[in-house]
Protein backbone atom coordinates (compact mmCIF):
# COMPACT_ATOMS: atom_id res chain seq x y z
CA UNK A 1 0.00 0.00 0.00
CA UNK A 2 1.25 3.44 -0.89
CA UNK A 3 0.22 6.19 1.51
CA UNK A 4 0.53 9.95 1.24
CA UNK A 5 0.36 12.07 4.40
CA UNK A 6 -0.13 15.82 3.94
CA UNK A 7 1.50 17.82 6.73
CA UNK A 8 1.80 21.47 7.67
CA UNK A 9 4.27 23.27 9.88
CA UNK A 10 2.53 25.68 12.28
CA UNK A 11 3.58 27.91 15.19
CA UNK A 12 3.55 26.33 18.65
CA UNK A 13 0.02 27.06 19.84
CA UNK A 14 1.22 28.10 23.29
CA UNK A 15 3.31 30.94 21.84
CA UNK A 16 2.65 34.56 22.70
CA UNK A 17 1.37 35.95 19.41
CA UNK A 18 1.62 39.53 18.18
CA UNK A 19 -0.16 40.96 15.15
CA UNK A 20 2.26 41.78 12.32
CA UNK A 21 2.82 45.21 10.76
CA UNK A 22 0.39 44.53 7.92
CA UNK A 23 -2.28 43.55 10.44
CA UNK A 24 -3.13 40.40 8.52
CA UNK A 25 -1.14 37.68 10.29
CA UNK A 26 1.06 37.19 13.36
CA UNK A 27 4.72 38.16 13.64
CA UNK A 28 6.63 34.97 12.89
CA UNK A 29 10.21 36.02 13.66
CA UNK A 30 10.31 34.82 17.25
CA UNK A 31 7.99 31.85 17.03
CA UNK A 32 8.84 28.18 17.41
CA UNK A 33 7.34 26.07 14.66
CA UNK A 34 6.29 22.44 14.82
CA UNK A 35 4.31 19.77 13.04
CA UNK A 36 0.56 20.56 13.15
CA UNK A 37 -0.90 18.41 15.93
CA UNK A 38 -3.70 16.92 13.77
CA UNK A 39 -1.08 15.93 11.18
CA UNK A 40 0.99 14.08 13.79
CA UNK A 41 -2.03 11.88 14.45
CA UNK A 42 -2.53 11.41 10.69
CA UNK A 43 1.12 10.42 10.26
CA UNK A 44 0.97 8.01 13.20
CA UNK A 45 -2.07 6.33 11.65
CA UNK A 46 -0.11 5.84 8.41
CA UNK A 47 2.91 4.51 10.30
CA UNK A 48 0.69 1.99 12.09
CA UNK A 49 -0.48 0.67 8.72
CA UNK A 50 3.17 0.43 7.71
CA UNK A 51 4.02 -1.43 10.93
CA UNK A 52 1.14 -3.83 10.32
CA UNK A 53 2.15 -4.79 6.80
CA UNK A 54 3.74 -3.57 3.65
CA UNK A 55 3.30 0.11 3.10
CA UNK A 56 5.33 3.00 1.85
CA UNK A 57 4.63 6.29 3.63
CA UNK A 58 5.34 9.52 1.76
CA UNK A 59 4.89 12.91 3.39
CA UNK A 60 4.24 16.12 1.52
CA UNK A 61 4.47 19.63 2.89
CA UNK A 62 4.13 23.01 1.21
CA UNK A 63 6.00 25.80 2.94
CA UNK A 64 9.12 27.91 3.26
CA UNK A 65 12.60 26.60 4.10
CA UNK A 66 11.75 26.24 7.80
CA UNK A 67 9.11 23.61 6.87
CA UNK A 68 12.01 21.23 6.23
CA UNK A 69 12.17 20.86 10.03
CA UNK A 70 8.61 19.50 10.11
CA UNK A 71 9.52 17.15 7.27
CA UNK A 72 12.59 15.97 9.19
CA UNK A 73 10.36 15.24 12.16
CA UNK A 74 8.02 13.19 9.97
CA UNK A 75 10.91 11.25 8.43
CA UNK A 76 12.43 10.66 11.87
CA UNK A 77 9.08 9.30 13.08
CA UNK A 78 9.23 6.75 10.27
CA UNK A 79 8.00 8.17 6.95
CA UNK A 80 9.99 6.74 4.02
CA UNK A 81 10.46 9.82 1.88
CA UNK A 82 9.16 13.34 1.43
CA UNK A 83 8.12 15.95 -1.07
CA UNK A 84 8.71 19.55 0.00
CA UNK A 85 7.06 22.08 -2.28
CA UNK A 86 9.11 25.15 -1.52
CA UNK A 87 8.34 27.83 -4.06
CA UNK A 88 7.90 31.58 -3.48
CA UNK A 89 4.89 31.42 -5.80
CA UNK A 90 3.15 29.13 -3.31
CA UNK A 91 3.58 31.43 -0.32
CA UNK A 92 0.25 33.20 -0.73
CA UNK A 93 -1.74 30.17 -1.83
CA UNK A 94 -5.13 29.68 -0.26
CA UNK A 95 -6.69 26.31 0.57
CA UNK A 96 -7.68 25.63 -3.03
CA UNK A 97 -4.23 26.63 -4.28
CA UNK A 98 -2.65 24.23 -1.79
CA UNK A 99 -5.09 21.48 -2.79
CA UNK A 100 -4.14 22.01 -6.45
CA UNK A 101 -0.43 21.70 -5.59
CA UNK A 102 -1.07 18.51 -3.61
CA UNK A 103 -3.21 17.26 -6.49
CA UNK A 104 -0.28 17.73 -8.86
CA UNK A 105 2.02 15.87 -6.44
CA UNK A 106 -0.47 13.04 -5.85
CA UNK A 107 -1.49 12.39 -9.44
CA UNK A 108 2.15 11.87 -10.43
CA UNK A 109 2.13 8.71 -8.26
CA UNK A 110 -0.78 6.45 -7.49
CA UNK A 111 -1.51 6.50 -3.79
CA UNK A 112 -3.94 4.01 -2.28
CA UNK A 113 -4.64 6.16 0.72
CA UNK A 114 -4.16 9.85 1.50
CA UNK A 115 -4.25 11.11 5.07
CA UNK A 116 -4.34 14.68 6.35
CA UNK A 117 -5.12 16.34 9.66
CA UNK A 118 -8.69 17.57 10.14
CA UNK A 119 -7.49 21.16 10.23
CA UNK A 120 -4.49 23.38 10.83
CA UNK A 121 -4.05 24.84 14.28
CA UNK A 122 -3.10 28.29 12.99
CA UNK A 123 -5.72 29.39 10.43
CA UNK A 124 -8.37 26.80 11.41
CA UNK A 125 -9.42 26.44 7.76
CA UNK A 126 -10.11 22.66 7.49
CA UNK A 127 -10.54 22.65 3.70
CA UNK A 128 -7.44 21.29 1.97
CA UNK A 129 -8.15 17.59 2.58
CA UNK A 130 -11.71 17.46 1.21
CA UNK A 131 -10.71 19.78 -1.66
CA UNK A 132 -7.88 17.44 -2.62
CA UNK A 133 -10.29 14.50 -2.49
CA UNK A 134 -12.63 16.29 -4.90
CA UNK A 135 -9.82 17.18 -7.31
CA UNK A 136 -8.72 13.53 -7.36
CA UNK A 137 -12.35 12.34 -7.36
CA UNK A 138 -11.71 10.20 -4.28
CA UNK A 139 -14.22 9.19 -1.62
CA UNK A 140 -13.55 11.18 1.55
CA UNK A 141 -14.23 10.98 5.26
CA UNK A 142 -13.33 13.67 7.79
CA UNK A 143 -12.54 13.76 11.51
CA UNK A 144 -11.99 10.03 11.68
CA UNK A 145 -11.33 8.38 15.04
CA UNK A 146 -10.72 4.85 13.76
CA UNK A 147 -9.42 3.24 10.55
CA UNK A 148 -9.36 -0.44 9.56
CA UNK A 149 -8.27 -1.85 6.21
CA UNK A 150 -10.62 -4.57 4.91
CA UNK A 151 -9.18 -8.10 4.59
CA UNK A 152 -9.16 -7.88 0.80
CA UNK A 153 -7.25 -4.58 0.98
CA UNK A 154 -9.74 -2.90 -1.34
CA UNK A 155 -11.59 -0.70 1.13
CA UNK A 156 -11.30 0.88 4.56
CA UNK A 157 -13.84 1.12 7.37
CA UNK A 158 -13.61 4.38 9.30
CA UNK A 159 -15.45 5.99 12.17
CA UNK A 160 -16.27 9.65 11.69
CA UNK A 161 -16.66 11.66 14.84
CA UNK A 162 -20.10 13.28 14.98
CA UNK A 163 -21.28 15.66 17.67
CA UNK A 164 -22.45 14.72 21.15
CA UNK A 165 -20.33 11.60 21.46
CA UNK A 166 -21.75 9.83 18.39
CA UNK A 167 -19.90 8.10 15.57
CA UNK A 168 -20.77 7.32 11.95
CA UNK A 169 -19.23 4.14 10.60
CA UNK A 170 -18.64 4.27 6.85
CA UNK A 171 -16.83 2.16 4.26
CA UNK A 172 -14.70 3.84 1.58
CA UNK A 173 -13.35 2.07 -1.48
CA UNK A 174 -9.64 2.60 -2.00
CA UNK A 175 -8.11 4.82 -3.18
CA UNK A 176 -9.58 7.22 -0.64
CA UNK A 177 -8.74 10.31 1.40
CA UNK A 178 -9.40 10.74 5.11
CA UNK A 179 -8.78 13.59 7.52
CA UNK A 180 -7.85 12.60 11.04
CA UNK A 181 -9.20 13.86 14.37
CA UNK A 182 -6.84 14.20 17.33
CA UNK A 183 -6.97 11.37 19.86
CA UNK A 184 -7.27 8.59 17.23
CA UNK A 185 -3.95 7.13 18.47
CA UNK A 186 -0.90 8.11 20.51
CA UNK A 187 1.69 9.55 18.13
CA UNK A 188 5.17 8.15 18.61
CA UNK A 189 8.26 10.20 19.28
CA UNK A 190 11.20 9.92 16.93
CA UNK A 191 13.88 7.54 18.20
CA UNK A 192 17.57 8.45 18.00
CA UNK A 193 17.91 5.82 15.27
CA UNK A 194 14.98 7.41 13.46
CA UNK A 195 16.55 10.86 13.69
CA UNK A 196 19.87 9.56 12.31
CA UNK A 197 18.14 7.57 9.57
CA UNK A 198 16.06 10.58 8.48
CA UNK A 199 19.18 12.29 7.16
CA UNK A 200 19.56 9.65 4.45
CA UNK A 201 15.95 9.72 3.29
CA UNK A 202 14.91 11.31 0.01
CA UNK A 203 13.37 14.80 0.12
CA UNK A 204 12.29 15.94 -3.33
CA UNK A 205 11.81 19.68 -3.75
CA UNK A 206 9.82 20.42 -6.87
CA UNK A 207 8.94 23.98 -7.92
CA UNK A 208 5.42 24.73 -9.14
CA UNK A 209 6.58 24.66 -12.75
CA UNK A 210 8.04 21.15 -12.18
CA UNK A 211 4.54 20.14 -11.15
CA UNK A 212 3.05 21.69 -14.28
CA UNK A 213 1.32 24.46 -12.32
CA UNK A 214 1.13 28.14 -13.20
CA UNK A 215 1.12 30.89 -10.58
CA UNK A 216 -2.39 31.74 -11.78
CA UNK A 217 -3.71 28.31 -10.78
CA UNK A 218 -2.49 28.75 -7.23
CA UNK A 219 -3.29 32.45 -6.87
CA UNK A 220 -5.48 33.00 -3.82
CA UNK A 221 -9.17 33.82 -3.96
CA UNK A 222 -9.33 33.70 -0.22
CA UNK A 223 -7.36 36.33 1.70
CA UNK A 224 -7.18 37.68 5.22
CA UNK A 225 -8.00 41.39 5.30
CA UNK A 226 -7.49 41.83 9.02
CA UNK A 227 -6.36 39.81 12.01
CA UNK A 228 -7.21 41.39 15.36
CA UNK A 229 -7.49 40.34 18.99
CA UNK A 230 -11.18 39.58 19.52
CA UNK A 231 -13.32 42.53 20.59
CA UNK A 232 -13.23 42.63 24.36
CA UNK A 233 -16.97 43.17 24.57
CA UNK A 234 -18.30 42.70 28.04
CA UNK A 235 -16.03 39.85 29.03
CA UNK A 236 -15.70 38.46 32.51
CA UNK A 237 -15.49 40.63 35.55
CA UNK A 238 -12.15 39.65 37.08
CA UNK A 239 -12.31 39.27 40.84
CA UNK A 240 -9.45 40.96 42.67
CA UNK A 241 -7.91 40.17 46.03
CA UNK A 242 -6.29 37.34 47.94
CA UNK A 243 -7.26 33.74 47.18
CA UNK A 244 -9.53 33.67 50.24
CA UNK A 245 -11.20 36.93 49.21
CA UNK A 246 -11.81 35.93 45.61
CA UNK A 247 -13.22 32.49 46.40
CA UNK A 248 -15.49 33.93 49.09
CA UNK A 249 -16.81 36.51 46.63
CA UNK A 250 -17.18 33.82 43.96
CA UNK A 251 -19.25 31.59 46.24
CA UNK A 252 -21.49 34.55 47.06
CA UNK A 253 -22.09 35.19 43.35
CA UNK A 254 -22.67 31.54 42.50
CA UNK A 255 -25.31 31.47 45.26
CA UNK A 256 -26.95 34.64 44.04
CA UNK A 257 -26.84 33.93 40.29
CA UNK A 258 -27.43 30.20 40.07
CA UNK A 259 -28.98 28.95 43.31
CA UNK A 260 -26.96 25.74 43.05
CA UNK A 261 -25.41 26.25 46.49
Amino acid sequence: MKILVCVKQVPDKDSTFRVDAAGTWVETDNLTFQLNDYDRFALEEALRLKDAGEAEVVVCSIGPERASQAIKTALAMGADRAVHVHDPAAVDSDALGLARILHAVAKAESFDLILAGLQAEDDNVAQVGPMLARLLDLPCATAITSLQVADDGKSIRVERELENNRRQVVDLDLPALVTVQTGINSPRYASLKGIMGAKRKEVRKPALTDLGLSAEQTAPRMRILALTPPAKGEGAEILQGSTTEVVTELVRRIKEKTGVI
Binding site: K13, F17, V19, A95, L96, D123, N124, V125, A126, Q127, G129, P130, M131, A133, R134, P139, C140, A141, T142, A143, R157, E163, N164, N165, R166, R167, Q168, V169, V170, D171, D173, A176, Q181, T182, G183, R221, M222, R223, I224, L225, A226, L227, T228, P229, P230, A231, G235, A236, E237, L239, T243, V246, V247, L250, R253, I254, K255, K257, T258, V260
Partner: protein, 326 residues
Protein backbone atom coordinates in the same frame (compact mmCIF):
# COMPACT_ATOMS: atom_id res chain seq x y z
CA UNK B 1 -30.10 33.19 -10.93
CA UNK B 2 -27.11 34.55 -9.08
CA UNK B 3 -29.57 36.20 -6.76
CA UNK B 4 -30.03 33.55 -4.15
CA UNK B 5 -28.60 32.45 -0.84
CA UNK B 6 -28.84 28.68 -0.51
CA UNK B 7 -28.74 26.98 2.85
CA UNK B 8 -27.81 23.31 3.23
CA UNK B 9 -30.40 21.70 5.49
CA UNK B 10 -29.37 19.15 8.13
CA UNK B 11 -31.75 16.63 9.58
CA UNK B 12 -31.34 13.62 11.78
CA UNK B 13 -33.80 10.81 12.54
CA UNK B 14 -36.68 12.68 10.89
CA UNK B 15 -36.05 15.95 12.72
CA UNK B 16 -34.62 19.18 11.33
CA UNK B 17 -31.54 20.16 13.30
CA UNK B 18 -31.64 23.45 15.21
CA UNK B 19 -28.68 24.83 13.25
CA UNK B 20 -30.77 24.80 10.07
CA UNK B 21 -33.02 27.49 11.62
CA UNK B 22 -29.91 29.48 12.58
CA UNK B 23 -28.58 29.28 9.01
CA UNK B 24 -31.96 30.45 7.72
CA UNK B 25 -31.93 33.30 10.24
CA UNK B 26 -28.55 34.45 8.91
CA UNK B 27 -29.63 33.93 5.29
CA UNK B 28 -32.78 36.03 5.73
CA UNK B 29 -30.82 38.84 7.38
CA UNK B 30 -28.28 38.84 4.52
CA UNK B 31 -31.13 38.57 2.04
CA UNK B 32 -32.70 41.67 3.54
CA UNK B 33 -29.43 43.61 3.24
CA UNK B 34 -28.53 42.42 -0.24
CA UNK B 35 -31.93 41.96 -1.90
CA UNK B 36 -31.21 38.25 -2.47
CA UNK B 37 -33.80 35.50 -2.11
CA UNK B 38 -33.35 32.63 0.35
CA UNK B 39 -33.53 28.98 -0.62
CA UNK B 40 -33.04 25.76 1.37
CA UNK B 41 -31.54 22.59 -0.10
CA UNK B 42 -33.07 19.49 1.48
CA UNK B 43 -31.55 16.13 0.55
CA UNK B 44 -32.97 12.88 1.88
CA UNK B 45 -35.31 9.96 1.44
CA UNK B 46 -38.86 10.17 2.75
CA UNK B 47 -38.48 13.76 3.93
CA UNK B 48 -41.55 15.39 2.29
CA UNK B 49 -42.85 16.31 5.76
CA UNK B 50 -39.61 18.14 6.54
CA UNK B 51 -39.84 20.00 3.24
CA UNK B 52 -43.28 21.36 4.19
CA UNK B 53 -42.10 22.30 7.67
CA UNK B 54 -39.08 24.11 6.22
CA UNK B 55 -41.15 26.06 3.68
CA UNK B 56 -43.53 27.27 6.39
CA UNK B 57 -41.18 28.03 9.27
CA UNK B 58 -38.13 28.81 7.12
CA UNK B 59 -39.95 31.26 4.85
CA UNK B 60 -38.15 30.22 1.71
CA UNK B 61 -38.31 28.06 -1.37
CA UNK B 62 -37.25 24.53 -0.46
CA UNK B 63 -35.31 22.68 -3.17
CA UNK B 64 -36.09 19.11 -2.31
CA UNK B 65 -34.19 16.12 -3.71
CA UNK B 66 -35.53 12.65 -2.89
CA UNK B 67 -33.39 9.59 -3.50
CA UNK B 68 -33.06 6.27 -1.66
CA UNK B 69 -29.28 6.76 -1.74
CA UNK B 70 -29.77 9.90 0.38
CA UNK B 71 -31.48 8.08 3.26
CA UNK B 72 -28.34 8.35 5.39
CA UNK B 73 -25.70 11.01 4.86
CA UNK B 74 -22.66 9.80 2.95
CA UNK B 75 -20.06 12.15 1.55
CA UNK B 76 -20.13 11.10 -2.09
CA UNK B 77 -23.90 10.89 -2.58
CA UNK B 78 -24.55 14.21 -0.84
CA UNK B 79 -21.64 15.94 -2.59
CA UNK B 80 -22.71 14.83 -6.04
CA UNK B 81 -26.31 15.93 -5.56
CA UNK B 82 -25.33 19.24 -3.98
CA UNK B 83 -23.01 19.95 -6.91
CA UNK B 84 -25.84 19.31 -9.37
CA UNK B 85 -28.23 21.57 -7.45
CA UNK B 86 -25.66 24.37 -7.29
CA UNK B 87 -24.82 23.98 -10.99
CA UNK B 88 -28.50 24.33 -11.91
CA UNK B 89 -29.43 27.07 -9.48
CA UNK B 90 -26.24 29.13 -9.78
CA UNK B 91 -26.65 30.76 -6.35
CA UNK B 92 -24.86 33.85 -5.05
CA UNK B 93 -23.98 32.22 -1.74
CA UNK B 94 -24.09 28.74 -0.18
CA UNK B 95 -24.13 28.38 3.60
CA UNK B 96 -23.73 25.15 5.56
CA UNK B 97 -23.26 24.51 9.24
CA UNK B 98 -19.70 23.96 10.47
CA UNK B 99 -20.66 20.40 11.32
CA UNK B 100 -19.27 16.99 10.36
CA UNK B 101 -21.51 17.23 7.27
CA UNK B 102 -20.79 20.86 6.36
CA UNK B 103 -17.03 20.76 6.74
CA UNK B 104 -16.89 17.47 4.83
CA UNK B 105 -18.79 18.46 1.69
CA UNK B 106 -18.53 22.22 1.26
CA UNK B 107 -14.77 22.32 0.50
CA UNK B 108 -15.31 19.75 -2.27
CA UNK B 109 -17.99 21.98 -3.76
CA UNK B 110 -15.57 24.93 -3.65
CA UNK B 111 -12.91 22.85 -5.40
CA UNK B 112 -15.37 21.73 -8.08
CA UNK B 113 -16.42 25.34 -8.72
CA UNK B 114 -12.92 26.81 -8.39
CA UNK B 115 -14.04 29.32 -5.75
CA UNK B 116 -12.90 30.19 -2.24
CA UNK B 117 -14.66 29.31 0.98
CA UNK B 118 -14.70 30.60 4.57
CA UNK B 119 -14.67 28.24 7.56
CA UNK B 120 -16.64 28.36 10.81
CA UNK B 121 -17.75 31.95 10.44
CA UNK B 122 -19.45 33.88 13.21
CA UNK B 123 -20.60 36.84 11.10
CA UNK B 124 -20.92 38.15 7.53
CA UNK B 125 -20.77 41.80 6.53
CA UNK B 126 -21.35 43.30 3.10
CA UNK B 127 -18.90 45.83 1.65
CA UNK B 128 -20.40 47.37 -1.52
CA UNK B 129 -22.33 44.14 -1.93
CA UNK B 130 -19.31 41.84 -1.52
CA UNK B 131 -19.35 39.59 1.53
CA UNK B 132 -16.63 39.58 4.18
CA UNK B 133 -16.56 36.75 6.63
CA UNK B 134 -15.55 36.88 10.29
CA UNK B 135 -13.96 33.77 11.80
CA UNK B 136 -11.39 32.88 14.43
CA UNK B 137 -7.77 31.74 14.14
CA UNK B 138 -5.04 30.51 16.50
CA UNK B 139 -7.44 28.59 18.70
CA UNK B 140 -9.73 31.56 19.23
CA UNK B 141 -6.96 34.01 20.13
CA UNK B 142 -7.62 36.20 17.07
CA UNK B 143 -10.55 37.31 15.01
CA UNK B 144 -9.99 37.18 11.25
CA UNK B 145 -11.74 38.98 8.45
CA UNK B 146 -11.69 36.97 5.21
CA UNK B 147 -12.49 38.01 1.68
CA UNK B 148 -13.18 35.42 -1.01
CA UNK B 149 -12.67 37.88 -3.85
CA UNK B 150 -15.45 38.89 -6.20
CA UNK B 151 -16.45 35.59 -7.77
CA UNK B 152 -19.80 34.07 -6.73
CA UNK B 153 -20.88 31.74 -5.36
CA UNK B 154 -19.47 32.61 -1.95
CA UNK B 155 -19.25 29.53 0.26
CA UNK B 156 -19.03 29.36 4.04
CA UNK B 157 -19.55 27.03 6.97
CA UNK B 158 -21.20 28.78 9.90
CA UNK B 159 -20.42 28.30 13.58
CA UNK B 160 -23.17 26.60 15.53
CA UNK B 161 -25.05 28.90 17.90
CA UNK B 162 -23.66 32.11 16.38
CA UNK B 163 -26.95 33.31 14.87
CA UNK B 164 -30.55 33.74 15.95
CA UNK B 165 -33.02 31.22 14.54
CA UNK B 166 -35.33 32.43 11.77
CA UNK B 167 -38.70 33.75 12.88
CA UNK B 168 -41.67 35.75 11.65
CA UNK B 169 -41.26 35.03 7.95
CA UNK B 170 -43.96 34.46 5.35
CA UNK B 171 -44.33 30.82 4.30
CA UNK B 172 -42.48 29.70 1.18
CA UNK B 173 -43.00 26.73 -1.11
CA UNK B 174 -41.45 23.37 -2.03
CA UNK B 175 -39.94 22.52 -5.42
CA UNK B 176 -38.93 18.94 -6.11
CA UNK B 177 -35.68 18.62 -8.05
CA UNK B 178 -34.52 15.58 -9.91
CA UNK B 179 -30.81 14.83 -9.57
CA UNK B 180 -29.87 11.50 -11.08
CA UNK B 181 -27.50 9.60 -8.84
CA UNK B 182 -25.90 6.35 -9.97
CA UNK B 183 -25.93 4.47 -6.70
CA UNK B 184 -23.66 1.75 -8.10
CA UNK B 185 -20.88 4.26 -8.73
CA UNK B 186 -20.76 5.50 -5.13
CA UNK B 187 -17.59 4.59 -3.26
CA UNK B 188 -18.70 5.69 0.21
CA UNK B 189 -21.11 3.29 1.96
CA UNK B 190 -23.00 3.94 5.16
CA UNK B 191 -22.61 1.19 7.77
CA UNK B 192 -24.14 2.52 10.98
CA UNK B 193 -24.36 5.40 13.42
CA UNK B 194 -23.67 4.59 17.02
CA UNK B 195 -23.53 6.27 20.36
CA UNK B 196 -20.10 6.49 21.97
CA UNK B 197 -19.66 4.89 25.38
CA UNK B 198 -21.31 7.06 28.01
CA UNK B 199 -19.81 5.47 31.11
CA UNK B 200 -23.01 6.57 32.87
CA UNK B 201 -22.09 10.24 32.31
CA UNK B 202 -24.60 12.56 30.65
CA UNK B 203 -23.26 16.09 30.77
CA UNK B 204 -26.28 17.41 28.86
CA UNK B 205 -28.43 16.76 31.94
CA UNK B 206 -26.03 18.22 34.52
CA UNK B 207 -26.95 21.48 36.28
CA UNK B 208 -23.35 22.06 37.35
CA UNK B 209 -20.23 21.17 35.35
CA UNK B 210 -16.65 21.74 36.48
CA UNK B 211 -14.26 21.30 33.55
CA UNK B 212 -10.52 20.99 33.59
CA UNK B 213 -8.04 21.68 30.79
CA UNK B 214 -4.61 20.74 29.57
CA UNK B 215 -2.84 22.91 32.13
CA UNK B 216 -3.84 20.48 34.89
CA UNK B 217 -0.97 18.42 33.53
CA UNK B 218 -2.12 14.83 34.10
CA UNK B 219 -4.93 12.39 34.90
CA UNK B 220 -4.13 12.27 38.61
CA UNK B 221 -4.39 16.07 38.86
CA UNK B 222 -8.11 15.85 38.12
CA UNK B 223 -8.84 15.02 41.75
CA UNK B 224 -9.13 18.72 42.60
CA UNK B 225 -11.68 19.13 39.78
CA UNK B 226 -13.64 16.06 41.00
CA UNK B 227 -13.69 17.36 44.56
CA UNK B 228 -15.07 20.73 43.48
CA UNK B 229 -17.67 19.06 41.24
CA UNK B 230 -18.69 16.83 44.12
CA UNK B 231 -19.00 19.77 46.53
CA UNK B 232 -21.28 21.50 44.03
CA UNK B 233 -23.26 18.35 43.22
CA UNK B 234 -22.07 18.52 39.62
CA UNK B 235 -20.29 16.56 36.91
CA UNK B 236 -16.72 16.65 35.65
CA UNK B 237 -16.08 17.99 32.14
CA UNK B 238 -12.92 18.43 30.11
CA UNK B 239 -11.43 20.15 27.10
CA UNK B 240 -10.38 18.16 24.05
CA UNK B 241 -6.65 17.80 24.84
CA UNK B 242 -7.59 16.13 28.14
CA UNK B 243 -9.68 13.39 26.53
CA UNK B 244 -7.23 13.05 23.61
CA UNK B 245 -4.49 12.36 26.16
CA UNK B 246 -6.66 9.75 27.85
CA UNK B 247 -6.77 11.57 31.19
CA UNK B 248 -10.56 11.22 31.05
CA UNK B 249 -12.81 9.17 28.74
CA UNK B 250 -14.29 10.98 25.68
CA UNK B 251 -17.81 11.28 27.15
CA UNK B 252 -16.46 14.01 29.45
CA UNK B 253 -15.40 16.26 26.57
CA UNK B 254 -17.27 19.55 26.22
CA UNK B 255 -17.13 21.27 22.84
CA UNK B 256 -18.48 21.32 19.32
CA UNK B 257 -16.70 18.02 18.70
CA UNK B 258 -17.83 16.68 22.10
CA UNK B 259 -20.90 17.44 24.16
CA UNK B 260 -22.88 20.67 23.88
CA UNK B 261 -23.95 21.56 27.39
CA UNK B 262 -26.15 24.18 29.07
CA UNK B 263 -25.80 23.79 32.85
CA UNK B 264 -26.86 26.50 35.30
CA UNK B 265 -23.23 26.81 36.38
CA UNK B 266 -20.15 26.07 34.28
CA UNK B 267 -16.68 26.38 35.80
CA UNK B 268 -13.75 26.26 33.35
CA UNK B 269 -10.48 25.61 35.17
CA UNK B 270 -7.24 25.86 33.23
CA UNK B 271 -9.10 25.97 29.91
CA UNK B 272 -7.85 28.64 27.52
CA UNK B 273 -11.07 28.70 25.49
CA UNK B 274 -10.41 27.20 22.05
CA UNK B 275 -13.24 28.00 19.62
CA UNK B 276 -14.50 24.47 19.62
CA UNK B 277 -14.69 24.33 23.44
CA UNK B 278 -16.54 27.63 23.68
CA UNK B 279 -19.04 26.50 21.04
CA UNK B 280 -19.99 23.63 23.35
CA UNK B 281 -20.53 25.61 26.59
CA UNK B 282 -21.38 29.22 25.83
CA UNK B 283 -25.09 28.55 26.36
CA UNK B 284 -24.45 27.84 30.06
CA UNK B 285 -26.36 29.96 32.58
CA UNK B 286 -23.43 31.32 34.60
CA UNK B 287 -19.83 30.86 33.49
CA UNK B 288 -16.81 31.04 35.79
CA UNK B 289 -13.29 30.97 34.35
CA UNK B 290 -10.15 30.30 36.35
CA UNK B 291 -6.89 30.66 34.43
CA UNK B 292 -3.41 31.94 35.04
CA UNK B 293 -3.36 33.72 31.65
CA UNK B 294 -5.39 36.95 31.89
CA UNK B 295 -5.52 37.07 28.07
CA UNK B 296 -7.10 33.62 27.67
CA UNK B 297 -10.14 33.78 25.33
CA UNK B 298 -12.26 31.96 27.93
CA UNK B 299 -12.55 35.24 29.89
CA UNK B 300 -14.48 36.76 26.99
CA UNK B 301 -17.37 34.35 27.36
CA UNK B 302 -17.23 34.02 31.15
CA UNK B 303 -19.40 36.08 33.49
CA UNK B 304 -16.82 36.16 36.21
CA UNK B 305 -13.15 35.23 36.30
CA UNK B 306 -10.25 34.60 38.59
CA UNK B 307 -6.73 35.06 37.25
CA UNK B 308 -4.57 32.74 39.29
CA UNK B 309 -3.03 29.34 39.89
CA UNK B 310 -5.78 26.75 39.72
CA UNK B 311 -3.95 24.41 42.12
CA UNK B 312 -4.38 27.13 44.73
CA UNK B 313 -7.78 28.55 43.73
CA UNK B 314 -9.72 25.30 43.14
CA UNK B 315 -9.03 23.65 46.54
CA UNK B 316 -9.79 26.96 48.27
CA UNK B 317 -13.03 27.24 46.30
CA UNK B 318 -13.99 23.66 47.20
CA UNK B 319 -13.52 24.47 50.89
CA UNK B 320 -15.52 27.70 50.57
CA UNK B 321 -18.38 25.83 48.84
CA UNK B 322 -18.39 23.12 51.52
CA UNK B 323 -18.45 25.80 54.21
CA UNK B 324 -21.29 27.70 52.51
CA UNK B 325 -23.33 24.49 52.29
CA UNK B 326 -22.70 23.88 55.98
Amino acid sequence: MADRILVLVEHDAGVLRERTWELLGLAHRLGGESGKQVGAVLLGSGVQGLAEELAVRGGCEVLHVEDPALLEYTQQAYSRVLEQVVAEEAPWMVLASHSPTGWEILPGLAAALGVGMATEITAVTLESGTPRFIARAFNGKFEVQWTLGEQAPFLATVQKGAHEAVENVAAGSVRALSCPLEAASLRTRYVETREGDSGGVDLTQASVIVSGGRSLGGAEKFDIIRQLAEALGGQVGASRPVTDSGWLPPEHQVGSSGMTVTPKLYIAAGISGAIQHIAGMKGSGYIVAINKDAEAPIFQVADVGIVGDLFEVIPALTKAVQKAKG
